[in-house]
Assembly symmetry: C2
Homo-oligomer: 413 residues x 2
């Protein structure tokens, strides 16, 4: 049994957090485009950021901030302009955005983290930023998770939100999260912006470790199109307002908190894949029998990211040959005669050889699974075994449809 | 000036080679599906094969053959069934195919190499093979390159053929090649099947080295969809029938031959990208300023393989942000402030910062380039510089269109 339960409230479910989101005029569409998350008190901050050589100014800014001092009070996020590949002017814009936010909140600018998403190479529209931030601060509310989740969206179709409650020493602790996809989703740190709030009290070092491990099992295992972004960031704040005893070393409480944090990140990561550009369903790839977990995760990612396999899923085509081919090129050694492939309940391959199976029924499983007929909502499940090792890993992706091409063929024009 | 000229004749342009192709009934479509290339005398054989852990029986077979003795008389290739993931039965089918071919030709079965392409996990239809091979042998002709090139096609729209003539010690030497794509095209050994014939006399070791280096600069720099296949093979035969002096060590003659061989491989590789599934144009990505050639090639491959960039090219969208983002995640260190990006004649970025440019004119360049208005036929050219190193590299890809999804959503059904 899980040690936690799902609750409402998103990132404002944890005590002592407020949030808000407005239309500041950054997006041409007029959709909400500026979000703010604020902790009433200093929170421990941890982050995982893109590994790309071409990084947005906000990524450099947050890394520097958190390295200098791992605490923060606020996260400002704009959608519309990515502020990546914008040089020293982009850096100045990031700094000014943090300063404006700090001013409006009456806190130090060093306590403000910033994130951006949108078109790469475009500066943030600073006039709209300057007039928008004070208005945004006025909308902050303990029920503000949903407007914030909506304001960080770009091509996402739905806002992505989760909150869990667990108990530590018989007292409730909450973790909330929001995120956005939905193109450029791939390890490492993939798409994507994710913000997690938590009211547990925890030491900075432990919190950063937990957040990094959770990211490896979740966001780094999600792929939509193989493109890692310049802006990918997971920022997690823990403010201690649950008044539970501070977690300062590994142990049962730390394990419980990390399990719940990982669950939040996995839920958000799957939401991103499910809402991948043009996706009609979620693909879950489970790999077992590898030499170690990292090898299993690598194979899972490669299958979930294969364009040929993704197109086959879109066509509801039980083309296990493409699964086998993707596994084979993952860069992980295994014995092809031990390969076993299962699609839903259909065993398609055993000992590296294809089995006779009812192709129409398997295709029908894919249709129904994609339509959400089974327990795992709208999920096509692939389980493969590559040997007799202990390594296991899961990755998530989505199918490749006409709409992916349509959405991405004219994003800037 | 190039040291060679383009000639007609394809793989039968070199002296002492015959080829043929027939419809044996392996493909459901009734299109030609069985090809044979034969050298009148023993030829030196070299091969480069897929690095996938899941390999077709024919790949294992050819590797073993060429390792045991680097000579061959014939290459048999079937299209329709890939004979990959077919276990011991697949191996037996590959061996029998070689034996049947040897029998019909009156040579030893050890002198026959085999290749397959088509649906993974399907055995070769051996009844059709058994009745087809004797008929195929009857069609062998010194003008048989074109039927052979057609019989190895799967989803390819056009056959892919080239032949060059050069002189060594004032005497003519010829190199010919055919290949097929067109999904599952990616390093290493990408898609794809390629067969090269040559009438130079050369030592086995030198020939294998040349073939490997040529593959690295050509086939391994082509990507259509990031999926490396189970069957990818380049097989090259050199039979000495030009009666030119044997090349037994590095030197001027070896260099001339390798340059022409590389040209043949690059031409074929580009043909594959140009004919990528659903492609409307070829993308050529030139990278300079890297620390070394391999780093430059890696960045070039990553850009050419980016789904987001490929979709932008399909939309004729000069979205240099996606070029920068792809370069950044290639896994090669560089200073983002030194990044320079050029699209055709349009300079889009310098010193890591975007430049003002006429977006409509740049989009128009992409339209016209894709339509073949410029010297480089139907090629959209991207040139980037990542620093001040000496490393250069080029990769080729194609745009990502609706038709890619359509072709791959129902290949087996």
């Amino acid at each position: 049994m899980a040690d936690w339960q799902i609750i409402s409230g998103g990132i404002t479910a944890p005590k002592g957090f407020r949030a808000g989101g407005i239309t500041a005029g950054l997006k041409p569409s007029g959709a909400p485009d500026l979000a703010l998350i604020v902790s009433d008190v200093d929170a421990i901050g941890a982050g995982v950021f893109t590994t790309s050589q071409v990084k947005a100014a906000c990524v450099d800014y947050c890394r520097q901030r958190l390295q200098a001092k791992p605490t923060a009070r606020a996260i400002l996020c704009n959608a519309g302009q990515a502020n990546a590949a914008t040089g020293s002017q982009g850096w100045a814009d990031a700094v000014e955005s943090a300063q404006l936010t700090a001013q409006a909140l009456g806190i130090s600018h060093e306590q403000v983290l910033v994130a951006s998403t949108g078109v790469i190479g475009q500066r943030i529209k600073m006039d709209q930023m300057r007039s928008g931030i004070p208005k945004l601060v006025e909308t902050l509310s303990p029920e503000g998770s949903d407007p914030a989740a909506r304001a960080i969206m770009t091509t996402d179709l739905v806002p992505k939100t989760i909150a869990l409650e667990l108990t530590l020493d018989h007292r409730p602790v909450r973790i909330g999260g929001i995120c956005k996809g939905s193109g450029m989703i791939h390890p490492n740190m993939a798409t994507m912006l994710a913000f997690v709030t938590c009211d547990a009290a925890i030491s900075p070092h432990l919190w950063q470790e937990m957040v990094s491990r959770a990211a490896n099992k979740s966001f780094n295992q999600v792929t939509v199109d193989g493109d890692t972004s310049t802006n990918d960031s997971l920022i997690a704040l823990a403010n201690g307002e649950s008044r539970t005893p501070a977690i300062t070393e590994p142990g049962a409480n730390a394990d419980k908190l990390e399990a719940a944090l990982t669950e939040v990140c996995m839920y958000l990561a799957k939401s991103i894949a499910r809402d991948g550009e043009g996706a009609t369903c979620l693909i879950e790839v489970q790999v077992s029998g590898a030499a170690d977990d990292e090898s299993a995760r690598k194979i899972a990612r490669t299958i979930a990211g294969s364009s040929l396999f993704k197109a086959a899923v879109y066509g509801r085509d039980p083309n296990w040959g493409r699964i086998a081919a993707a596994a084979g090129r993952a860069g992980v050694l295994f014995e092809q005669n031990e390969l076993r492939i299962q699609l839903g309940d259909f065993l398609l391959m055993e000992n590296g050889q294809p089995l006779a199976f009812d192709r129409a029924a398997a295709s029908n499983y894919m249709k129904q699974a994609a339509d959400g007929a089974y327990l795992k909502q709208d999920t096509v499940l692939v389980a493969i075994r590559v040997g007799h090792g202990d390594g296991v890993g899961t990755a998530w992706g989505c199918d490749l449809s006409y709409d992916y091409v349509k959405i991405n063929a004219d994003y800037t024009t």
